[in-house]
Amino acid sequence: MILFRNGNKTKTLNAFHIISLLEGFNLSSLFEEKKREEKEEIRFATTKSPETMVAKLESVATEMKFMVDKTGDESSLRMKRNKIGRKGRLGIMAEIWAVAPSLVVVEVKKSSGDTLEYNRFCSKQLRPALKDIVWTSGYESTPAGVVGCIN
């Protein structure tokens, strides 16, 4: 079992963490006028290890001209686009959660910058780059090349 120690290993979740992570209830939509699809968070599952995910995200980030900041704990990643966009540099944060030994959930959020740019980045660059490591339900074994982003 992977235990959470400060800054050392990936966070492991108990049942209630998972429940809140999966946002079983999220009252903020009472206040939102837009539909859920426009939510800026991407959440997906993968069978890759947390370390592999960090490495993969880092390489994706570098390829897309983002600067990666790993000064926080080892299960989250911050990156900022080098280019200055409409509302400053686009900043992304990715958090990596170990749900079970064989299942890792990654949550990607915008941390700064323009939302439209972020949405464009996600659909045009991030999702395609992560296509081969996203895991979908119904396949108990290794992922086929199926895209299954859960939002």
Partner: protein, 213 residues
């Protein structure tokens, strides 16, 4: 308290006096007024009666009046203090108050406990947690093997269920949450603190698009 102008308003049906509500909650009078705009829009979306019924609640939460889920049902029940199947404005404000950043931790811990205690027995049973987990994973289109789920439950109950009786009681929950404060994150909606600035005008479309399922 200072001086403020209070305009004399004729209370609309379901509209408790905002000054009274403000004094009982962490909201200011103008914040209660802002919440009333939100309440009006939700409560009139299916039946225009100044009360929120289950369908209207689902519509507001999921943008889909037919969509149901375990948690929405439970939250509706907790908002519906008088157990009439309807939420009035007072219920609405007082329930949202628990999610205010300034609300007492005690209230949040208590609400959260009641939320997870689906059948209201006063205990969070292992079977209940399993049910919630499975429902949620299903909704998120994630599937986990049954023994993976059992392992997660084992680990959770090992930590939370101190007397190992298979269920989590109020005081065990208290301790557990104190050791895992991130579990209470869901009990706070940060923008409730400045609701009038975050939502300067609650302009809601009266024709909310319904997603046909």
């Amino acid at each position: 308290m200072g001086c403020f102008n209070s305009t004399v308003r004729k209370p609309a049906p379901g509209h408790e006096n905002p000054i009274v509500l403000a004094s009982q909650t962490a909201f200011s009078v103008s914040e209660v007024e802002a919440l009333f705009e939100l309440f009006k829009s939700i409560s009139s979306s299916v039946i225009d009666d100044g009360l929120i019924n289950k369908e209207e609640f689902q519509l507001a939460l999921f943008k889909n009046r037919k969509k149901e889920n375990l948690f929405a049902n439970r939250i509706f029940d907790l908002f519906d203090v008088k157990q009439r199947g309807l939420i009035d404005f007072g219920d609405f404000v007082k329930a949202l108050n628990v999610f205010h950043p300034n609300a007492p931790q005690e209230d949040k811990i208590s609400f959260c406990f009641k939320l997870y205690d689906m059948d209201g027995t006063g205990f969070i049973e292992r079977q209940e947690v399993k049910q919630m987990l499975i429902a949620l994973l299903c909704e998120s289109e994630l599937k986990l093997a049954d023994d993976t789920i059992e392992t997660i439950l084992d680990k959770t109950f090992l930590e939370a269920d101190v007397d190992q009786d298979g269920k989590i009681d109020k005081s065990e929950w208290h301790n557990f949450v104190s050791q895992n404060p991130s579990l209470l994150k869901i009990m706070t909606l940060p923008y409730l603190r400045d609701i009038t600035t975050t939502f300067p005008s609650f302009v809601f479309n009266s024709e909310v698009e319904e997603i046909a399922t």
